[in-house]
Every structure is written in C-alpha cells, then in structure tokens.
C-alpha cells in the first residue's frame, strides 16, 4: 500500500513505523488554524521562554520569522507531546482570522510577570512596528479568510527569507503536537513581518493561551472583559439598541436582529466577569426571551454560568471568547447601525461589535428574514463567504478498468438467458462513462491511494454484475426496506454498520462489545492457528478455503477490547477489517479473518464519537469529544492529519466518495469539509439549529446531506458551497442518512422511529446556481418538503440507527427495539 508519505514528500509523512516519531510534518501553510500555542506552550514551560526570546531576537534582526520555528516547536513539543493533542482542538482554526490587541497585551503582561523582560521588550517593539504597519496596510486584508491569508503571507515571507521557510516544520519534535506548534510561530512570524497580517499574527498566540488549561493565561484572556461600563447601564444599552432595531425599516430589521444574540451573550459575560452577579441575572432574565429559539442550548449553558470562577472552565464561554461571531450584513444595514451607535455614543456596544464580532459586509439588497433564518443557528454565526470559496474537486475518481473476466462471465450469464444482444450497448455505455474524466475530479494521484488487490478486483466485478440487476428507483418505484431489529439490546445499541456487499452487520454496544453478524448463509469463520496453518498444502487450489477453521463457524462473533460504549463502527471496503471507536478514547482495528484486535489507535483523549474507512480503504477518519477529527492510515499509529476548527464535539465523520475530502458534523451546528491533502477546511456549512448527527454524500460526490437533532435534513451543493434544500418531516434527531446507489432517493432514519424516503432527483433538479447566488451566498429555499417526501415508514418502537442501500438498491435499516 502506498502511503501518503512515500509518494509525496511535501505532503506529510516520514514513514518510519519503528522509530517513535512517525512525523506528520506539514508545510507551514498546511496547518492553518492549528496555530495553537507555540508561544504559549513555550512560555509556560521554563525553557520555552528562551524559545520565544530567540524568536523575537530573530525578528529583531530584521529577518521575518520562519527561522524561529524550530526552537519554539521543540519547546512546545516538550510540553505538548501528550497534552497537545487535547489542547489543539480548542485552538480554533478560525482563530487565525480573528485578531486582538487585547491578547497581545495579555501576552505582554504575562511576559512581564514571568520576568522575561527581554522578550517583552522585543515583542513590544514588534507590536508597535506592527501597529504602524497595520495603519498603512490595506484595510481589505482584514477580511481575508484566515487560512488563505496566512498561507499567502507565509509564501511571501518564505520567499523573502529564502530557503529557511519550509525547513522548520520537518525538523522538530515528535507527535502531532509538533505540527500546530510549528505552524503557529511561523504564522506569527509572518505576521509581524507583514503589514496587513498584524492582527492575524496575534490570534494564534491567543488561541494557544486559551487552549491549554494551565490557568493564568486564561484570566489574561478574560481580562478582555475587564473594560468597565456601568453595570446598571447594560440593560439600558441593550434595550436602546433593541428599540432602535425594532424601529428600523423592515428590510434592515431582520439583518440587524442578528446582532441580538452575540451582543446579549457578550454583555452577559462581561457582567458576569466583572462580578455584577445580580445585574447579570436580571439582564439575562429580561432579555433571554428575545433570543431565537435555536440558541436555546447555548443559553441554557449561559444561564447556569453566574460566577466569574465558572467562566474559566466553561467551554462554551471560551468558544465565544476565542472565536468571533460571524454576521453577514448588507452595507446599508451596517452603516445604519454604525451611525446609530456613534450618535448615541454607545461605546459599550460598539466595543463589543468591534472586538467580538466579525461583520461580513456585502453590497446589495439586505437579506430577508427567511434567508437569514436558513443560514444562521451555528454556535459562531454564519460562515464567512470567503470560507467557502476554495475550489473543491468533488468529482469522482476514474474507476480502474477491469474488463476481461467481466466480459466472459457476464456474457455467459447473458447467453444462458438467451439475450446476448442487449448486453452490448449497456456495456459500452458503462465503459464510456468510466473512461471520460470528470472535469471536477481531482487528479488521480492527488492523494496516494492503495493499489487494487486481486480480491478487490473480484469484488469490483461482483459489484458491476450486481449493478446490472439494480432496480431503477424513482417516485413511482420505491425501494423495499428490510429492517434488521436488534432484540434484547436493552437500550445498548450505539452504532451499526453494514458492509458494502451487505453480507455482514456490525453492532457497537454500550457494554463495550462489538458484535459482527453474518446475514448471509455463509457463516463467520476465523483462520486456523499458526501450527495448523503450517500443515496446509499451500499449492492446493482451495487454499483460501482450507485456511479457515470450520470449527469456529458461527453467525455471530463478539469482539472484546474496548472499555466503554462503542459509538462508531465501520467496515473496510474489502471486508477484512472493522474499525470501532469508543468512549475509552481509542479507535480499534479488528481483523475479520481472525476476529481479534490488531491495533488500538490512541490520540483522542476523550470519547471518539465516530469513525469511518475511506471508500478506498487504508485511510480512515475519526472524530470525537476533543473537537477535532483525525485522519489516520491503518499502518500508522499516529494520525496523519488533524482537522481542528470545530467549536464543539465532532459527532460524525464521512469520507467523500473520491476519498480526497472528509466531512465532519459537529455539535457546534456546523458541517465542515476538509481537504485530506493539506488539512485545510474548505467548506463551512451553517444552517442547522441543532447538533449534527448524520452525514451522507451523494454517490456522484456533488451533494452532501446532513441531519441534525432538530429533525431537519439539509442538502448542500459542495461545488458552490451553498445550501440547496431543506427536508422537514422528522420530529426527532436524524440518526442516519443514505443515498441510493444511483442517487435517486435519499433515505433518512430517525429517533422518531421512522424511515423516510425523499426524492433526491427532484430536490437537486432546478438549483439556483446562478452567479449572483453563488457570489452572495443568499439562498432561497423552496418550501417543498412535502412534495419531496415519497414515503414514511413507522417502526413499532425502534429508532432507526443505520441505513444502507444494497448494490441492488434494497434498503437495509437497523435499530434496536426499545420497549416503551
């Protein structure tokens, strides 16, 4: 198998499975947002101070920063080797884009306290320099999406600095922590050297400070709330603004109303931070009713947070602090707001708007209430328009040509049926389809994929044969649904997966077991022991049959190994392996030949909610409570990529059919699409009003369907980065989504005990993908859920946990019967 590493040196891996550091070093630009805390980590650690000092010294010398990275990274690695993994997630990827003088001040303050005079001095000088530069810099750059801006800057810096640029990352310490650590200082270095990026530079440092939980720095960050206003005035400020917004013109009102929630939260937090408990309480009581209902979960967290002491450990609060709430407002509305605030001398609110909000201003008509409602709801506001501009290769990879055996066997089959003629045109069409290269497809070797084995080819042939027998689905021809009920599961079923050929079903249970059933008459057998194997005649034709131990044949195999509920399960495409992820923080790889555990992948220190194999095998992705998704390869015990940026748990992970992208759904109510090649976040989809629990790519790779606890299914156009549909109907969490093999039908299964079938063709039929919509991201969703709903099927009392389309388009659904 070809690893990423072997083929593309610049990509990532030093494939050295023996040595301790199997090192995913990246180009500096490849870890955007990972810029966790180089500076923080080092400064926390005694020796790290030197790192910072050294780096600043480098800056002093006039050369832009990249050279700095190694020591800082090394220092970071020293502290962060185990803990870094946990710390990194909190370092929001978006963080880079947000800038904050406060943070810089906090860092300075800290340096002073730690008696690092020299570094402080240097940093101060840098900062001033950077302030001047910022003044001169083009204001436009402020809006730039963090990732792009940084990498662009980096390349510029790298060019200026000569060969030093890419160097640092690869040389440094062990573990995944090295990657973010090295990127962080590099970014900040770049920032200091350059005008517009000044704010960008500060962000990673701040994020880092927040991320690691050793406390003094948190209070430094929180001190941003220190600016005192009269606590009694807060209510007045807020109601003043409320009055203003409610009296503004209709067209502006909807847009400006978006301000309510972030302002409310920040004002409340300020009150709490400054220990005006009673004012905070009454402020909350008075205005929490005004907030949109979909913020209820966050408000609930806020309501319990009434003391300054609570703020330090509260993740929701930290999310609010470290990432800016993004609002999309038309220029007119923004001007109106600005004028109002300036007139009123309402500095309190203006400060919050300046410091904690990111207002994405667009030209043109203000959006309507419906348009806004469709897109908001995520924990940190909408996605910036720029965040969804990167090109995504959503096309499918060219299928390798496997011809010869197919022809023979199929034609035989056809001859038996006595219809040899019909075969020809069909095969041609299939052949031509696979020959034509999809213009949107990524280059075949964009990421290295494993070679096809003989058994894979056989499987492909089987697949193609089945394809010819596939039922053509449509509104008039609905699929049959076969429901696999897990009985006596005692509420313990937590995950299900079905192999692509529908021969095996795996269930993950709360009692830490993974159970694999064979649903075909072929029983599960394990391979004989080594001594028995040595007796086998290796030349015989049926050697594959002979190695199996007939005595072990059974319909069910139980895999023991986890020490907590198994929340995710995924079969490898070749059915030789099974992955399971669990509350115990590990992902385990099981062999379905021996039914034993092969590897335990440790990296997530917290529960791992989901895992999935790549459609081509070898790679897999996992996501968990630590807010990151990780990309792994089966033969590396450390992750190849860490996708950090979500502000809450990563609930579900799915590979794009071409294996070049990974989608993650999170409890922060966003869906993100990540590029496997460089770890960048290329799409952020906002619009769900509850934690996302299911994802499904359409078979052609163009669309993504997502389901959340709010019972809605949203459809997204990946290429344009737009929401294209909303399917309402479920009354509870949508646990499972699946497109039919040809993409005509979308099946959704939910905790409300129903399976629903939707007309996917119609849903994607007349998309508004004109340039205007694409450019502005304004969407108008048709209210046609009822038309698209083709069928609703109730189970007796069984939440639908998993859905699967067989190769012939029969739906398999699975769930555990839960007696009421």
């Amino acid at each position: 198998m070809a690893a990423l590493a072997e083929e593309q040196t610049e990509v990532v891996i030093k494939p050295d499975p023996e040595g301790p550091p199997a090192l995913p070093a990246t180009q500096p630009g490849d870890c955007p947002g990972e810029g966790s805390g180089g500076s923080h980590n080092s400064s926390h650690n005694g020796g790290g101070g030197g790192g910072v000092a050294a780096s600043s010294a480098g800056g002093d010398g006039g050369t832009p920063k990249p050279a700095v990275a190694p020591p800082a990274a090394a220092a970071a690695a020293a502290t962060a080797a185990p803990g870094g993994a946990a710390g990194a997630p909190a370092a929001a990827a978006e963080g880079i884009a947000s800038q904050d003088r406060q943070t810089l001040l906090a860092v300075l303050q800290f340096l002073r306290r730690s008696n690092l005079r020299e570094s402080e001095e240097i940093l101060r000088r840098e900062a001033r320099l950077l302030e001047e530069a910022a003044g001169a810099g083009a204001p436009g750059e402020m809006d730039g999406p963090g990732a792009e801006a940084t990498s662009a800057l980096l390349s510029r810096v790298a060019a200026a600095a000569g060969p030093t640029g890419p160097g640092p990352g690869s040389g440094s310490g062990p573990g995944p922590g090295a990657c973010p650590a090295s990127a962080g200082p590099a970014a900040s270095g770049a920032g200091t050297g350059n005008s517009g990026a000044a704010p960008t530079a500060a962000a990673p440092a701040k994020v880092g400070v927040v991320a690691v939980e050793d406390q003094p720095d948190v209070s430094a960050v929180l001190s941003a709330y220190n600016q005192q206003g009269d606590p009694a005035m807060y209510e007045e400020y807020y109601s003043g603004l409320k009055h203003f917004i409610e009296c503004s013109l209709d067209c502006h009102r909807a847009e400006l109303s978006q301000l309510f929630y972030p302002l409310f939260v920040h004002m409340y937090l300020e009150l709490v931070y400054n220990q005006h408990e009673n004012e905070a309480k009454s402020f909350f009581e008075k205005f929490h009713g005004d907030q949109e209902c979909y913020y209820q979960d966050d408000l609930r967290v806020l309501s319990s947070l009434t003391k300054k002491e609570h703020m330090k450990g509260n993740e929701t609060m930290l999310d609010f602090r470290t990432s800016k709430f993004v609002l999309r407002i038309s220029r007119d509305s923004y001007q109106l707001l600005k004028r109002h605030l300036q007139e009123k001398q309402n500095n309190q609110i203006w400060n919050i708007v300046q410091e904690h909000l990111y207002i994405d201003i667009f030209d043109g008509m203000p959006r309507s209430k419906q348009q806004i409602d469709a897109m908001v709801g995520s924990m940190a506001g909408e996605a910036k328009r720029e965040a969804n501009k990167a090109k995504v290769f959503f096309g499918l990879l060219k299928e390798p040509e496997i011809e010869v055996p197919l022809d023979d066997e199929d034609e035989e089959g056809e001859n038996e049926e006595g219809k040899p003629k019909k075969k020809k045109p069909k095969k041609d069409s299939m052949g031509s389809k696979s020959k034509k290269q999809d213009p949107n497809a990524p280059p075949q070797n964009r990421i290295p994929l494993p070679e096809l084995k003989d058994s894979d080819k056989l499987d492909k042939i089987m697949n193609m044969k089945e394809t010819t027998k596939r039922v053509r689905l449509g509104p008039d021809c609905l699929p049959s649904i076969c429901f696999y009920t897990f009985l006596n599961a005692y509420q313990g079923l937590t995950a299900v997966d079905v192999t692509d050929d529908s021969s095996l079903i795996a269930g993950g249970f709360a009692d830490s077991t993974v159970r694999v059933w064979s649903v075909t008459p072929k029983k599960l057998r394990s391979v004989k022991t080594a001594t028995d194997l040595s007796l086998i005649d290796k030349e015989s034709d049926d050697v594959l049959e002979r190695i199996m131990d007939e005595k072990t044949a059974s319909e069910l195999k139980i895999l023991y190994g986890h020490s907590g509920p198994v929340y995710g399960a995924s079969f490898s495409p070749d059915r030789n392996y099974l992955l399971s992820s669990s509350e115990d923080g590990t992902v385990r790889l099981w062999s379905l030949q021996t039914f034993t555990c092969l590897v335990g992948y440790k990296g997530h220190n917290y529960p791992v909610w989901d895992t999935q194999f790549s459609p081509y095998g070898y790679y897999f992705v996992s996501g968990g409570h630590d807010r990151v998704a990780r990309l792994w390869a089966t033969d590396h015990y450390q992750p190849l990529r860490i996708f950090a940026g979500h502000l809450a748990d990563v609930n579900c992970t799915r590979f794009h059919p071409n294996s070049n992208y990974v989608a993650t759904g999170s409890a922060d109510r966003t869906v993100r699409l990540w590029d496997v090649l460089n770890g960048n976040c290329v799409r952020i989809f906002t619009g769900h009003k509850g934690p996302i629990h299911s994802l499904a790519f359409s078979p052609n790779g163009r669309f993504l369907a997502t389901g959340a606890t709010d019972g809605r299914v949203l459809l997204w156009d990946i290429g344009h980065g737009l929401m294209v549909g909303e399917l309402k109907g479920h009354t509870d969490t949508v646990c499972s989504l699946k497109f039919s093999r040809d993409g005509e039908i979308l099946a959704s299964g939910s905790m409300d005990n129903t399976v629903r079938l939707w007309d996917a063709i119609k849903a994607f039929e007349d998309l508004e993908t004109d340039d205007f919509t694409t450019a502005t991201g304004h969407i108008n969703l048709p209210e046609n859920s009822q038309d698209l709903l083709l069928g609703t099927y109730m189970t007796k009392s069984t939440p639908v946990v998993h859905l699967h389309f067989t190769r012939r388009n029969l739906v398999l659904a699975a769930g555990a019967y839960s007696p009421q």
Binding site: G83, C482, L487, H625, Y793, K796
Partner: protein, 604 residues
C-alpha cells in the same frame, strides 16, 4: 420567531439549607450562611454542567432516556471518578416523598441480609442480543405484519370516523385521549363539531368525504375466510387461535366492517334457527374485537349492539329451552353490553340510557316471557350498582310475587318454572351485595319481608352471606393495598407529620457514622482562631493538562472564606481533580431539589 417561543430556562439552585444539612452530616456544624450560599451556587452549577455533558452521551448512545451511566461518563470526562453503585437500566432509583410542604428525593438504602441474597435463586440470565429481519416496506407499501405498527393507529381511525372533513394524516390527530372513553370522547366529539361548523358557515366549498372503496387484498380475503370459518367451525383449538388473532392483530381495521356485518347477520340468522352454539361463538368474536386495542369500534357499534342485545333478551335462543344452558349466553352477552356501554357510551350517543330503557321496557311488560325477563334483568344488573339500586330494587316486591306465583302455584309449564327459578337466583345474586351496602347491618327477616315481599327471607340470608364475604374481601383488599402502597409515596404521605424529622434523621445517619471526623474538625477549629485555611492537600503542582475545569471547584471553596486572592494567584495550583468534585457531587445528589423540573428540563 423569538417572541413566539419563550424559552423555558429555569435558574434553579439547590437551597442553601441543604448545604447546611450536608455539612452537618459531615460533622461541620455552624456553617456561615455566606458559605452555604457560595456552595449552593457552585454545586448547582457543577450539577448542571454534568447534566449537560451527560445529555451528550445520551444522544450519542441513541437513547431517549438519560441513564446513570451517562452521568458516570460525564464525570469521567471531567476527570472525576464516577459514582459507583448507581446502576439501573430503566429507572433512577430515587424515591420521592413529600410532606410538610417540602419535596424530597432520596436514595433508599435498604439493609440487605446476606443470607437472603445467598439463598434466593439466581435470576434468569437475560436474553442475548439477537438480530431479526422483517419487511418494513415492500416497494413502498408497508405490510401489515405484527412486526410493523398497525397500519392505521386507533387515533387515526377515530379521526376518520369523527372528523371526516379533516384530512387525516398520521401524527396530526393529537386531540382527544387515545382511548375513546367517557368524557374524553365527548370532548373530542364536541371539538370535531366545532371545527366542522365554521367552514360551512363561511361558505367555503363543502368538502365531502371521498367515497372510500373497501377493497381487501387477496391475503386479507384469505385471512378473513380462515378466521370466520375457524370462529364458527367445530375445532375448538382453531377457534381459540382465531379469537386470539382477532384480539391482538394490529392490521384488522380494514376488515372491521366485514366482521361487524358477519356478526350481525350471523346473529339474525341463528336466532331464528335457535342455534345456541353459533350464537355463543359470535358473541365471543364480539368480545375478541372489543379486546383488540388497535381497533376503533365506534363506527360499528350500531351493528353490534342489536346483535348482542338479541342474544340477551331473545325469547328463545336454543332448540330445547328446558335443557340447554342459554342462560350462560345471556349472562355473557349482558356483560358484553355492559362493556360496550362503559367504552362507548357518551352524552351524545346515549347508548347506556337507551339500552337501559330497552331492558326496563321489556321487563316491565307483564307478558314478557321468563327468558326475556331474565335477559333484561341480567342486562340491567351488569350495568352497575347504581342501576340495580334505582331500577331493580324498587321492583323486587312485584317480581317476587310473580316468581312465587309460578313456583308455588300449580305447575303450568316446566319451562316457566325453570325460568322463574333462574330469575330468582339472578335477582338474589345481584341484589344481595347492593343491599348489603345500602342497609345498615342488623339483618332482620321480617324487615326484609316487609320491604321486599316474598323474596325477603331469601334475600336476607343472601345479604348476610354477602356481608360476611365483603368483610372477608375487605380484609384481603386491605392487605393487598397495604403491600402496594408500601413502596409508593402514598404511605409516606400518611406519615406526613413525621417526614421532616425523618428525613433529617436519614441524612444524619452518615453524620453519626462520621463522628470521629466531627470531633476532629471541631478540635481543630478551636485551635486556630481565624477561619480554617484552605486545606493544603488540595493544592498540587500541575502535573497533567487533563485537569480541566475541575479546578474551579476548589478555587471557589478555598476562596470563600478568604478574599479573592486565591483566584488571582494560583499560578501553579491545580487541583487533583478527582477529590473535590466527587465529594461535592456525592453529597449533592441525594438532596432536596427544590424544583424537580430543574433536572428534568435540562434532560429533556
């Protein structure tokens, strides 16, 4: 949007007195009020935090119900040792009690005798997980098999019946309770009428209910044939099976009109032919249909009632009235009618009063034969004590005379004699318990004779018997209710005045156990004059980054007595996260929660 849906956010905190109680139980007397207040804030916050994390595990575990293990995992997430010993699959083992205006949840810890446990046989091993496949849908249609829910839930059948103008879709009919009983059905009906009225008035084009064609699939036709044949066939085993199927199968509603017609026609024919056996079988079918929880029978009651009534009051039900036991059929049918009344009678359809009227009319009639007389009385008697009291008792004297004239007089016909005999025992059977309740105890033969004529003496002895039986039953009832109420709050309610002291006693138990600690603490408290310093054992150099938020627990509790200095300076302090939270939570859980909704809201 925001204004429409006001958020229900409760800001409940634990009452500070519970902190005091906990402190006392730990052996710390005299906690300052301020400290209590700070502690409750902190503890409430932590509990909420943990509850919110626990919810996450519930969602990911694909469950609708929060379990104790979810809370354990949430604690683990915070690097806190879980609470061991709280394992319950289905319910949280907290018991609820109220009294003295307070509500209390507590965990009942019974003393368990080890020998009991050793001697009790092991419970059955729970069944292992297994996989079962069935068709949820076949090419878009859901087959009506037991694995699937009934194709049309009862509410929908009802909605179709009562509100034909409302297009009924599953999930739309929330109004009206599930079972169309008494008041509920009335209000639902009333609502239906109200809803129907406006469109008519406003001149909206009248929507007629589309004529539905009741077509049965081939399988259904086969099923119908099999079932009806088995029900009236000769094989008793098959009949039992068929009746069982009628009583439980969820997919019968489409066949309901057929069954209903089958029964009413069957009765019509077999009454004429005096085929007692078949009539009994048909009545058993009615009973089975009524027992089926998925069927909405209201629409067919008009067909069923006459059939059942016929079986009660018909002059002749069998070929040889002197030998055959048609009385049993009448009794059975009378019970059925009573059941129908109970289920379907409303103030709009007046089923009960109409039935009562019919019975009374035929009973009052002088020429009514004894069979019909028996049926009418049985029908009335089954309707309940009130009916007996108002309609039967006043006529006892009259009826007694008639019976006496037949029994004592010249033998006119054997059949009449038997009939009168049955009527007499029927009256005695039903009236005695009622009289036993109505009349004060001293049972005097003469008083009875004056009141009830010739039936008096017999009645009197029956009443005496009934009284004895009632007393016996009452004892039994008392005993059973006692055992039932014991684990339930009703019993504790009866002890309401005691509940206050009792609960504190309950909480004090650990305190008395921890007596040495108390003395230790008080001794130490006496030594240093200033508030006891934050226990140094909690302050530990940071060693792991996993400590996370658990640190705050301490920072607050230590900061409480002193100034805010601890919060600003703890550069190097981190708490060994395990210790404090465990304690806090440990004591926090079995406490008063002033508003039980608090937890449940966050859970929901």
């Amino acid at each position: 949007m925001a204004e429409e849906k006001k958020l229900k956010l409760s800001n409940t905190v634990l009452p500070s007195e519970s902190m005091k109680v906990v402190a006392e139980s730990m052996g710390i007397a005299q906690m300052p009020e301020e400290t209590c207040q700070l502690l409750t804030d902190e503890v409430s916050y932590r509990i909420k935090e943990i509850a919110q994390d626990a919810l996450k595990f519930m969602h990911m575990g694909k469950r609708q119900k929060l379990t104790t293990s979810d809370i354990d995992y949430a604690l683990k997430l915070k690097n806190v040792e879980p609470l061991y010993g709280f394992h319950a699959q289905e319910f949280i083992p907290f018991r609820f009690a109220s009294g003295g205006g307070r509500e209390l949840y507590f965990y009942e810890e019974k003393e368990v005798d080890l020998s009991d446990i050793i001697n009790t046989p092991l419970p059955r091993v729970p069944l292992d997980v297994c996989l079962k496949a069935h068709w949820l849908s076949i090419e878009g249609f859901q087959p009506a098999i037991p694995e699937n829910p009934p194709p049309a839930p009862k509410e929908q059948q009802k909605a179709e019946a009562t509100e034909p103008l409302k297009s009924a879709k599953p999930g739309q009919e929330e109004d009206g309770p599930l079972k169309g009983k008494g008041q509920g059905a009335v209000s639902a009906d009333g609502k239906g009428k109200e809803k129907k009225a406006p469109p008519l008035l406003e001149g909206v084009p009248l929507r007629l209910k589309p004529r539905s064609i009741h077509e049965l699939s081939v399988e259904q036709q086969l099923y119908y044939k099999e079932i009806t044949e088995a029900c009236v066939g000769s094989c008793e085993a098959k009949r039992a099976e068929a009746l069982q199927s009628i009583a439980t199968d969820p997919g019968l509603y489409q066949m309901l009109p057929r069954f209903s017609t089958f029964i009413s026609e069957g009765v019509r024919v077999n009454v004429v032919q005096n085929n007692l056996a078949l009539l009994i079988y048909l009545m058993r079918m009615v009973k089975a249909l009524m027992d089926n929880p998925t069927l909405y029978l209201e629409k067919y009651v008009h067909e069923l009632i006459p059939a059942v009534m016929t079986c009660i009051v018909s002059r002749q039900l069998c070929l040889r009235p002197d030998v055959d036991n048609h009385w049993a059929l009448r009794d059975f049918a009378a019970r059925l009618v009573a059941q129908i009344c109970k289920h379907f009678s409303t103030t709009t359809n007046n089923i009960q009063s109409r039935i009562t009227k019919t019975f009374t009319k035929s009973w009052v009639d002088e020429k009514t034969p004894w069979t019909t007389r028996y049926g009418s009385i049985a029908g009335l008697a089954e309707l309940g004590h009130d009916v007996i009291k108002t309609l039967i008792l006043p006529r006892l004297q009259q009826e007694g005379e008639r019976i006496r004239s037949v029994l004592d007089g010249p033998v006119l016909s054997n059949i009449d004699r038997i009939g009168a005999d049955h009527v007499q025992s029927l009256l005695l059977k039903h009236c005695a318990p009622v009289l036993a309740k109505l009349r004060p105890p001293p049972d005097n033969q003469d008083a009875f004779r004056t009141d009830f004529g010739s039936l008096g003496p017999l009645l009197c002895s029956h009443v005496v018997k009934a009284r004895a039986q009632a007393a016996l039953q009452a004892q039994q009832v008392n005993r059973t209710t006692l055992t039932i109420t014991q684990p339930r709050p009703t019993l504790t309610l009866s002890q309401a005045p005691q509940s206050g002291p009792r609960t504190t006693g309950l909480l004090k138990v650990p305190g008395s156990i921890a007596l040495p600690v108390q003395t230790l603490v008080s001794a130490r408290a006496a030594a240093p004059p200033q508030p006891s310093p934050p226990p140094t054992k909690f302050i530990v150099m940071s060693s792991s980054s996993g400590a996370s938020s658990s640190q705050q627990v301490l920072s607050l509790s230590t900061a409480a007595p002193g100034s805010g200095s601890t919060t600003t300076s703890p550069v190097t302090t981190t708490v060994p996260s395990v210790q404090p939270i465990v304690k806090q939570v440990d004591i926090a859980l079995p406490l008063w929660v002033s508003d039980p909704d608090d937890i449940s809201i966050t859970v929901a």
